[in-house]
């Protein structure tokens, strides 16, 4: 319990136990805090990777082109990762995100097809966005409700959701990606448009990350999320409606999966029904890499940002320096386990102290 509160970002007020052991070793509290931030370690790994590839492939890796492409390709995973951070902090998990993304994309895509297809108007685009967000949020909230009231573990609820959402999407489309699912307006703006050289995809992802980073770190919603992951019984006794909060957290995950669907349609122009089967694993990997505990109560959005970029930098960097592809999967796996291992060691020594 006491370890939990130490790992919360400095901005986050510990919900249950304020850090009462400050100054025990006469080390300035800010330094203790900095060393205690999980993100610091993964950030060091990220910086080391970037430095390595920059030296290994001079003029090819740390370029504006390369940074832009890494950021664009990470944008959707980042948005999904933000939602997943909230879910995992409550000691939950959401395996269904890839399917929810597909379902939201299909719902929005079908509307678009019947209201103008690729040439549809801005009005249609707006309705499509609302549909995608609503479908995602609705599905997420439904799963949250089952988790909150049915005493079914989130692993099972969202595993069911994974199959069911994809099944509905396949029923609606006959299993084939429908043509004309994305409007040209949407593709040329969000998908491929730029503002001052920065792609809109990246700007949107950064805005979402900043917004929900602040929500987690500085609002009551955020501290309740952390508290539920730490000790749901205590939170319930404190009079906080845990069930309602879980519905909101899973709904938020679904909402962001819906936003991911919009971003997907914008950049890929199709629903890619078969192309999202491993989104959940990728996103969970990123969140865990970022220091969020699978046991709940601990984690940060900033960590997830770093966790999304480590695999992205690795795969891009290894292609740039020309390493055979199979090594990339090995490298991502090793970095994942190593990062969590170091984190756990550090945690243990501190708990003993």
């Amino acid at each position: 319990m006491s370890a939990n509160s130490q790992d919360i970002k400095p901005a986050a007020k510990a919900p249950d136990v304020p850090p009462s052991d400050g100054g025990r070793f006469a080390i300035p509290p800010w330094l203790r805090r900095a060393a205690g931030i999980s993100e610091l370690w993964t950030f060091v790994i990220l910086v080391a990777l970037v430095a390595f590839f920059t030296i290994a492939a001079p003029g090819k890796f740390f370029t504006q082109y390369d940074l832009t492409q890494i950021a664009v390709n990470a944008a959707i995973y980042l948005v999904l990762g933000v939602g997943m951070t909230f879910v995992i902090i409550t000691a939950g998990i959401d395996l269904s995100i890839g399917s929810v993304l597909v379902l939201a994309a299909v719902a929005a895509g079908e509307y678009n097809i019947h209201h103008g297809g690729p040439a549809s108007s801005w009005g249609t685009v707006a309705v499509c966005v609302v549909i995608a967000l609503a479908v995602g949020a609705g599905w997420g909230a439904l799963q949250g409700a089952v988790v909150a009231t049915g005493k079914v573990p989130p692993l099972i609820v969202t595993l069911g959701g994974l199959g069911a959402a994809l099944g509905i999407a396949e029923l609606a489309t006959g299993g084939q990606d429908p043509a004309g699912a994305a409007a040209t307006h949407l593709q040329n703006s969000l998908g491929f448009g730029k503002l001052a050289g920065i792609p809109w995809m990246v700007i949107l992802a950064a805005a979402v990350t900043a917004l929900f980073g602040a929500v987690l770190g500085a609002t009551r919603f955020g501290s309740h999320t952390l508290a539920i992951g730490s000790n749901p019984t205590a939170v319930r006794r404190a009079g906080i409606p845990v069930g309602r909060h879980l519905i909101m957290v899973y709904g938020l995950m679904g909402l962001l999966a819906g936003l991911g669907a919009v971003m997907w349609l914008a950049s890929y122009g199709t629903t890619s029904i078969a192309g999202h089967s491993t989104d959940n694993l990728k996103v969970i990997t990123a969140v865990v890499l970022g220091g969020t505990s699978l046991f709940g109560g601990r984690g940060s959005v900033l960590g997830t940002v770093i966790g999304v970029f480590i695999p992205a930098v690795l795969t891009t960097g290894l292609i740039v320096i020309g390493v055979q592809q199979y090594w990339q999967d090995v490298a991502v796996g090793v970095v994942l386990v190593a990062a969590v291992y170091i984190d756990q060691m550090r945690r243990k020594t501190r708990e003993r102290a």
Binding site: G175, S277, V320
Partner: protein, 333 residues
């Protein structure tokens, strides 16, 4: 397309083998009273079972087989699985077997799980022709007709090299290693590219059927090799990812993309300039050839054990010529 077909069948294979062997053991009434060798193709009952009913590749094959069978006076009808799945195709096969046809054309969705059913129907006197896909047991089917995938890879390489002005780097991005059809295509492509001394082949990448991975891979490759001039895409999902990646990088049209098959949406992409080369298989020839081979068998003539059909490269320049556009897959007869 066929890469997806192949991978799915592996998953369902294990479970169905058990069921199948059980079923085969129960109903082994192998009276050879079928109408095998009466001579003459006219009036023979011929059935076709395809892999996926709604796939334009199979629709095109079915249409051609139907036309040829009608011309020969056969009693022909066709059906196909709703999905690429043994558990969906097997009941179809069993019901066709029960009707005791003289000839059966089938695209088996699994290399082994359908073998017992096929053996049974063959021993009951039905002449079996395997079209597009095959099974591992060599005793099944008097003829096997499919695309020559290695040749397809060569056709793609030649067309792509021409568009690249025979210089620059080229890369293959495929779905996953270990799939016979796509492996053969990559082999043919890589070997053929060696004929062009100024084209450098980069190591093949695999995207596990994820467009997002393909997009990131193509952009990373561009960072490392700015002279990248050509990409060979393994399937539709890969092609989607490559198109997005190139567009994000502002290289659409500069880097030429070749893809397999000529389904309606791929032809649309060719027109729109997202793809530059399509390597079309010839499903119509597969269907027609299979019916011809069956007819030869009915008439007691010699049958070719294995036939590889041709492939053709379609580009924006030649897509309007009738001898090329006939290769476009059809969405209906």
């Amino acid at each position: 397309m066929s890469s997806i077909r192949i991978t799915r069948k592996v998953l369902v294979a294990a479970g169905t083998v058990l069921v199948l062997t059980g079923a085969a053991a129960c109903s082994s009434s192998s009276d050879s009273g079928g109408s095998g060798s009466k001579g003459g193709a006219s009036g023979k009952k011929v059935r076709l079972i395809t892999g996926v009913k709604s796939d334009p590749f199979y629709i095109t094959m079915t249409c051609a087989a139907q036309t040829e069978a009608k011309a020969k006076g056969m009693d022909f009808s066709a059906d196909g699985s709703a999905q690429w799945d043994v558990s969906v195709q097997r009941p179809l096969l069993d019901s066709v077997a029960a009707s005791r046809p003289d000839g059966l054309l089938i695209s088996p969705v699994d290399v082994s799980a359908l073998t017992p059913s096929l053996k049974q129907i063959q021993s009951a006197g039905t002449k079996v022709a395997l079209v597009d896909t095959t099974v591992t047991d060599p005793s099944i089917g008097m003829t096997r007709i499919s695309s020559d995938n290695e040749k397809g890879g060569r056709v793609a390489a030649d067309a792509l090299a021409k568009l690249m002005n025979e210089k620059g780097s080229a890369i293959v991005i495929s779905v996953k290693p270990g799939v016979s059809t796509t492996d053969a295509r990559i082999k043919g492509f890589t070997e053929e590219m060696k004929k062009y001394p100024n084209i450098k082949m980069l190591p093949t990448l695999y995207d596990n059927d994820l467009p997002a991975t393909a997009a990131s891979q193509i952009q990373s490759t561009l960072a490392a090799h700015p002279d990248l001039g050509g990409v060979f895409a393994g399937n539709t999902n890969t092609g989607t990812g490559i198109a997005t990646g190139l567009k994000q990088a502002g290289k659409q049209g500069t880097v030429k993309v070749a893809a397999f098959d000529a389904e309606p949406d791929e032809v649309a992409s060719l027109k729109a300039g997202t793809l530059q080369v399509l390597v079309a298989q010839d499903p119509a020839a597969i269907g027609k050839e299979a019916v011809d081979q069956l007819a030869a068998a009915f008439e007691g003539k010699s049958v070719q054990k294995s036939i590889g059909t041709n492939m053709v490269a379609i580009t924006k320049a030649n897509m309007d010529q009738p001898e090329i556009s006939k290769y476009f897959y059809k969405a209906g007869c």
